[in-house]
Amino acid sequence: MLTIGIVALQGAFQAHQKVLNILGVHSVLVKDPKALAQVDGLIFPGGESTAMIFLMHKFQLWDALQERISQIPVLATCAGVILLQKLSVLAIHVQRNGYGRQLASGVFPLKLSYAGQVFFLDGFFIRAPIIQSIIDPGIQVWAYHHQYPVCIQKSNILATTFHPELSASAYCIHKIFLEKCRQ
């Protein structure tokens, strides 16, 4: 049986777990290195990247995460994108709260292109980061908003600056991620 881990130190882990439940996929909340060994894929939810980085260092998760994400498919959303950049697995320039404060948060229509298919979805951007530029030529961009990449992919890693867990129209992101986990 497929088991997906959701990093659950802080943030939108419940919202991701709800989506996985709807999609009929078993998930576990990951808070320690031991749990990492049991999962076939890993989700980094949104939240506050400063808080998550603090907790990962304090509770000896940083190195374990770095090792495990090179082995299994990963889905990172919002703050998770910043984390993957800090973990040196995504070579990108990213600006925290790039759109501004909560009053600038909103839902923007997105067009996502993946493997010859096109998806139209509502992107929830909540104090979202902006990917200002991509350093690694191996990174593919699946969707843009106002010329900035908002959904990127590199080998086993899928990352969105918006929150697919907050809109049923965007569950395709989770489905694509789960496809990778099943392979």
Partner: protein, 279 residues
């Protein structure tokens, strides 16, 4: 933006705080310590509740300049408090661009009625001591509920009591026959939709955090085990002997609230907690 979309965006924002600690801070230096110690947001205010209790007088919205300085100093969300019913203080904070407004009983109330929060774009959190108050605040447009506890005391008893009361009341609503729900809605002056929601789902339609009296990592973990989804810590951190260490330990305790071994390490060697008073 359309009202229902705004509501979803603000409810989505609340998801980001879960499993986190929101810390009261009175200046930039404290805000930076809070951010460094893993806070998911800071609550900017002029005096922490313990000092409001001690000094007395009328407690009002903070000076916008002080809030603005904190907003510039940290990258995490900044919340600020307005007096109950003082919709102009709320207008000012929204114009300032704060991320969340706390319509708070910690300040001196400005009205017998709460603010109509539906007319604002910025999300609001409100306190409650029981299910009726929670549902009233939600009908007025609150996107997040926190139990009030007893702010500024360092005494956890009210926070615990209120969390239990709300859960007990939710359970009693769930046991009612569907035809009995309307009388509850009428008695409490809340919409039948809200009461039906509680009846069907067994939880509030917005998140429920804990506040008012949390002074130690064990207090924070206690509230999480009792069902809080995150905690507000007011005077507990910056009135303790070693604020930075205390802040870090409470942040850790909220993430690992289920793990007594980790909690025992976090509770060790913190120095004195805030002295506290019997509320």
């Amino acid at each position: 933006m359309h009202h229902t979309i705004q509501k979803k965006v603000n409810l989505g924002f609340v998801e980001m705080f879960k499993g986190g600690v929101i810390m009261d801070v009175v200046n930039v230096a404290q805000a930076k310590i809070a951010e460094k110690s893993g806070a998911v947001a800071v609550m900017a205010l002029e005096r922490v509740p313990a000092d409001i209790r001690k000094m007395g007088g009328i407690a009002r919205m903070s000076d916008p300049q002080m809030i603005q300085e904190i907003m510039t100093a940290v990258t995490i969300p900044v919340m600020a408090k307005v007096r109950i019913g003082h919709f102009v203080e709320a207008q000012i904070l929204e114009a300032l661009g704060v991320d969340f407004i706390d319509e708070s009983e910690v300040l001196t109330p400005a009205d017998d009625y709460h603010i109509d929060k539906h007319v604002f774009k910025v999300p609001f959190v409100c306190g409650c001591t029981n299910l009726r108050e929670a549902l009233r605040r939600i009908s007025e447009g609150a996107r997040l509920i926190r139990t009030k506890g007893e702010a500024g005391t360092g005494n956890i008893i009210q926070a615990v009591h209120q969390m239990r009361v709300i859960q007990k009341e939710i359970q009693s609503i769930q046991k009612l026959k569907p035809e009995a729900l309307l009388s509850v809605a009428q008695k409490w002056d809340v919409s039948i939709d809200l009461v039906q929601y509680i009846h069907q789902k067994g939880h509030l339609p917005v998140a429920n955090f804990s506040a008012g009296g949390i002074a130690t990592p064990a207090d924070a973990a206690l509230m999480m085990q009792l069902g809080a989804q995150a905690v507000f810590v007011g005077s507990g951190i910056f009135k303790s002997e070693n604020p930075e260490k205390c802040a870090e330990a409470i942040v850790g305790a909220v993430s690992y609230y289920h793990d007594p071994v980790i909690l025992s390490k976090l509770a060790t060697g913190l120095g004195g907690a805030m002295p506290g008073v019997i509320g």
